[in-house]
Symmetry: C2
Subunit: 219 residues, 2 copies
DNA sequence: GGCGGAATCCGTGGCAGCACCCATCCCGGA
DNA sequence: TCCGGGATGGGTGCTGCCACGGATTCCGCC
């Protein structure tokens, strides 16, 4: 009998060493084949244009275009392509954002290699994959929020707010940001206040860590 | 003729997926064998105690004990063991700190898999390994500093200062830090000022990014 | 056509971050 | 022995962060 064709995978991560390792893991499975590698989100989109891709495995934090941004664009341009996001961080905020960005799965880099392979297969079977660690963490978080009567998924930042977060996390002052964006200092402060409220944070250091987790800037 | 025995490697990285990939890369070389894996610096030290290790490949940023801290301890306890530090970041500051911590090599995760293998071999031959990207960057930096008549290697933080950096980067206020360390707020501010001067930085957001790069905290 | 949300701007005010000056104590190395 | 550096504490003052109130415009959606 004929076996089903191997899943054609696009792999994107900004670290060549990690890319190579993950590729070895995936290629050792007969039903998974990495057909293209990208070092950032923009390159991933370009490669997705010229290659026939079944599945894109994208690191969340990449220069130029983050994995989340690339996922949004990719799912818009070719909805048939499945997307799996790789993340360093176990954070429900990003998990929900990943789903919103069109990803079918979200896998932590801290998990074992078997889980990644299983996630690829689950996503190709059109089953959403949730890694077990996230499942418990998400359920705990969900139950806590429901118990406190909060609306659950939490807030996402607008494009403008994301822009401001990026600049704040780069260490720019409000005045500098105002000059760069050609808006008033007060508006920058208003944005910052809204962002801090949305993310339930207190100051710029926490925003900096958020921006790094989200892949908006590099440490 | 008998071939030389394979190098016994301890591999430490907090991401199981990365660990697995790097292990595949190393194990595919006949002269390199990963005999133990650790998920953080403390576990790495414990494993180095019970295994016969020729070479430790340590990620710089790990929870509990960072790769730099583990390297310091490991080179003190068993100077014969070679140490190779893996880093996400191309930063001369960390490069020098790595050497000071007793490492024989410093490899970026952005480099190709061949370079890691070559670095392992070079280190085992007692040749210090410097990846080409760093070489040019370090030389450029070096020449700039010499041209400006500065003392070159730059400053390293004291243990106390490192402690303060960690708390600042976690988003604590000066008052909170003072309470935690049972010192005056003024002393915290004095430490912060010294740290900012040493690292040639401006504010807490940059310190936050520094702490993440150094593996003192997780994003 | 109203309604909500995003983006823009303004004022007031407190407190913290940060700069620059100062001092003391202790310890280890020249 | 003295010197230097680290850790500690203090004073003064400016600037910027951040909270709190308000406002307008525009746009898309029901």
């Amino acid at each position: 009998m004929t076996r089903p064709p191997s899943t054609r995978i696009l792999l994107a991560d900004d670290h060549a060493l990690v890319r190579r390792g993950v590729r070895l893991i995936l290629d050792s499975e007969p039903d998974l084949t990495v057909v293209a590698e990208a070092g950032d989100g923009a390159e991933a989109l370009a490669l997705a244009r010229v290659h026939a891709i079944d599945l894109a495995v994208l690191d969340v934090a990449m220069p130029r275009l983050t994995g989340l941004q690339a996922a949004r664009e990719l799912s818009r341009r070719s909805p048939a392509t499945r997307i799996l996001l790789l993340s360093m961080y176990d954070n429900d905020q990003y998990f929900f954002e990943a789903l919103r960005a069109g990803a079918s799965g979200y896998v932590l880099k801290s998990v074992a290699d078997r889980d990644l392979v299983e996630a690829c297969r689950a996503v190709m079977r059109e089953e959403p994959f949730i890694y077990p660690e996230a499942l418990t963490a998400l359920m705990r978080e969900y139950l806590q929020r429901v118990a406190r009567g909060e609306r659950l998924p939490g807030s996402i930042l607008s494009a403008r707010e994301e822009e401001v977060v990026k600049l704040i996390a780069e260490g720019r002052s409000s005045q500098e940001i105002a000059d760069l964006l050609v808006i008033s200092v007060k508006t920058v402060e208003r944005h910052r206040a809204n962002i801090l409220a949305k993310l339930e944070m207190r100051d710029r250091t926490q925003l900096t860590r958020y921006a790094i987790r989200a892949g908006l800037i590099e440490p």
